[in-house]
């Protein structure tokens, strides 16, 4: 988006609640198991001032798809709606029109498109209490419509579950959907805004987001494998680490001051810490085994990683300042690909179970292990959503390698995210967009 648009969005996105701010007791309505099909009706937005009519349902379609993907909501069938887009204020809406079709919550609003300037005002209502919970106005360009819908989906989840939703974010991944090579792509969770970032026609591996969601680290084989940073907007790259040998799994610390990377030294792989420009800070691990796939704790003080120093690959944790290495996983004989949840409470990883690879989570001490997938395919490469509710991963259960998303607490709602030709792999879920 153009600079003035992003400034407008930055300044005004989610800026102000419109009239009658929510009473607190509505928050956290959807707590607890079993309350995962909260019925919400989404009316098309009213078009103002001669704006084109097609945006009315575009916004609500994206919103509805996000809320459905969340696994928490059931969207009331549009065919059942009695009332139309208007009226959209709490004093004028006939709430019985909505409670009679089973809705507990209701979304209504308006939009205005003039030239390229888009304004969207949406409100969330509690149908039984007959009042507005929250209202937001978004201003930007017409190209910002999708982000506005994702922002409001996150807001609805914040209001009704107590935790912001993950939809205003991006997933980077590798896909061979083009011409057989795994190139770098970025999309939003619903598959919209899909953009191909690279066309190197070589081996590309392990994308990892910068904290500002403006660039990605990844390994690419030019003459030799090297770690690069690629800018999302310009696709311009700069090399970060180019020493001969394996280098893979580069990822930024939570404050962006360091990169952890697994590098090879004479056939043995260790984890090193670099400055963002690639200068070596120090080697973090030094064992006879292979140490790889680092992941940072969200407070930046620890790194979990894979090591086969005990003979088989397991997950370990070490302080960023060095020191004692603690083993995390104690069951199974092949545990790899750890990734730390943004809220710090869980580590997801890949374990060999049931004859294939499956996604597990554990607390950082190795207790409370949960197996999330039981599929006959290979399930691997987990990455956490910014709200720590979901994990995106790759799975070969349908025959091709595709991306799936799963509820991280229970393993429920495993939804396929990508379709079509080619293998999709190595997903990386960003923080929320700014």
């Amino acid at each position: 988006m153009r600079r003035w648009e992003s400034a407008a969005i930055g300044a005004l996105l989610g800026a102000f609640a419109v009239i009658h701010p929510a009473a607190a007791q509505v928050r956290g309505t959807i707590f607890g198991p079993g309350l995962r099909n909260y019925p919400i009706a989404i009316a098309p937005l009213a078009a103002r001032e001669g704006s084109p009519a097609d945006l009315a349902t575009k916004f609500t379609d994206i919103l509805g798809r996000d809320l459905t993907l969340s696994g928490q909501f059931r969207i009331v069938d549009r065919e059942a709606h009695i009332e139309e887009a208007e009226p959209y204020t709490a004093d004028a809406i006939n709430f019985p029109n909505w409670s009679v079709i089973g809705a507990l919550a209701l979304v209504k609003g308006w939009y205005s498109l003039s030239g390229d300037t888009l304004s969207v005002e949406v409100r969330l209502f509690d149908v039984y209490q007959r009042r507005q919970i929250v209202g937001k106005r978004y201003n930007g360009g017409v190209g910002d419509l999708r982000r506005m819908a994702h922002r409001f989906a996150d807001e609805i989840m914040a209001q009704l579950t107590g935790e912001r939703g993950p939809f205003d974010s991006r997933i980077a991944f590798l896909s061979a959907r083009g011409k057989g090579f795994k190139e770098l792509y970025v999309m939003s969770l619903d598959g919209g805004d899909t953009k191909q970032l690279t066309n190197h026609r070589t081996i590309n591996l392990s994308p990892a987001w910068s904290n500002d969601v403006r660039s990605l680290l990844y390994t690419s084989y030019r003459r030799r494998p090297a770690l690069f940073s690629i800018d999302l907007t310009s696709s311009r790259e700069k090399p970060i680490w180019q020493k001969a040998g394996v280098n893979v799994g580069g990822c930024y610390s939570p404050d962006g001051s360091m990169i952890a990377l697994a590098v090879e030294n004479d056939g043995n792989t260790d984890i090193v810490l670099l400055r963002p420009d690639g200068q070596l800070i120090r080697r973090l691990t030094d064992s006879y085994g292979q140490d790889l796939s680092p992941t940072w704790s969200p407070d930046g003080t620890q790194i979990a990683f894979t090591s086969d120093r005990s003979g088989r690959p397991q997950i370990y944790v070490v302080g960023v300042g060095g020191g004692e290495v603690q083993r995390v996983t104690s069951s199974g004989n092949e545990n790899t690909s750890a990734t730390w949840s943004p809220d710090g409470k869980r580590i997801a990883y890949v374990g060999r179970a049931g004859g294939t690879l499956n996604i597990f989570t554990t607390d950082p001490e190795g207790a409370d292990v949960r197996q999330l997938t039981q599929s006959s395919g290979k399930n691997e490469e987990p990455s956490w959503s910014p709200d720590s509710r979901y994990i995106v991963f790759s799975s070969t259960r349908t025959g091709r390698q595709k991306l799936f998303v799963v509820d991280a607490a229970t393993g429920a709602s495993q939804v396929q995210l990508t379709v079509g030709d080619g293998d999709d792999s190595s997903p990386a879920w960003s923080r929320w967009l700014q």
């Binding site: 690419s220 030799r224 180019q242 030294n265 056939g267």
Partner: protein, 170 residues
Amino acid sequence: MRMRLLVAVAFVGLVAFNSVGCSTNKGAEDAYGGGLGEEGVGGGGSLDARRAGHGADSSGPLKDVTFDYDSSELREDGRLTLRENAAWLQSNTGATVEVEGHCDDRGTVEYNLALGAKRARVVKDYLVALGVADQRLTTISYGEELPLCYDQTESCWQRNRRAHFVVRGE
């Protein structure tokens, strides 16, 4: 499937073209000194831009060495192959070799990169022990990224668990 095999073949061939003159001073190399690499990375990243009908496993003068699952240990058949390969190298002293480490696809991508690197290193060390000059050998790992076949069968997996030799400058 055939397309991918062609890609794999073309890729293996191209390494021969693109690595000429790319020597690494192994003796003085400190893997962690400085942090920035001693080789520039050109724009030429295209695997399929380099064409050569390099045979995937045995059409070059040096034969592949295969490994057991999740292992980088040389078997007796591997050591035998390496003695033959070393003999060839002793008779063709102008040749340099890139030793590639490959894996089957059953582990994770990153783990297989590390395993491939170990396999390449083990093979290189053995060739050096057999008298091949260290400076003639470089190593690279492709992990599970360049399989010879895709079947989920032991015979295919065994083919993929290999060290492969790309000869240059004969």
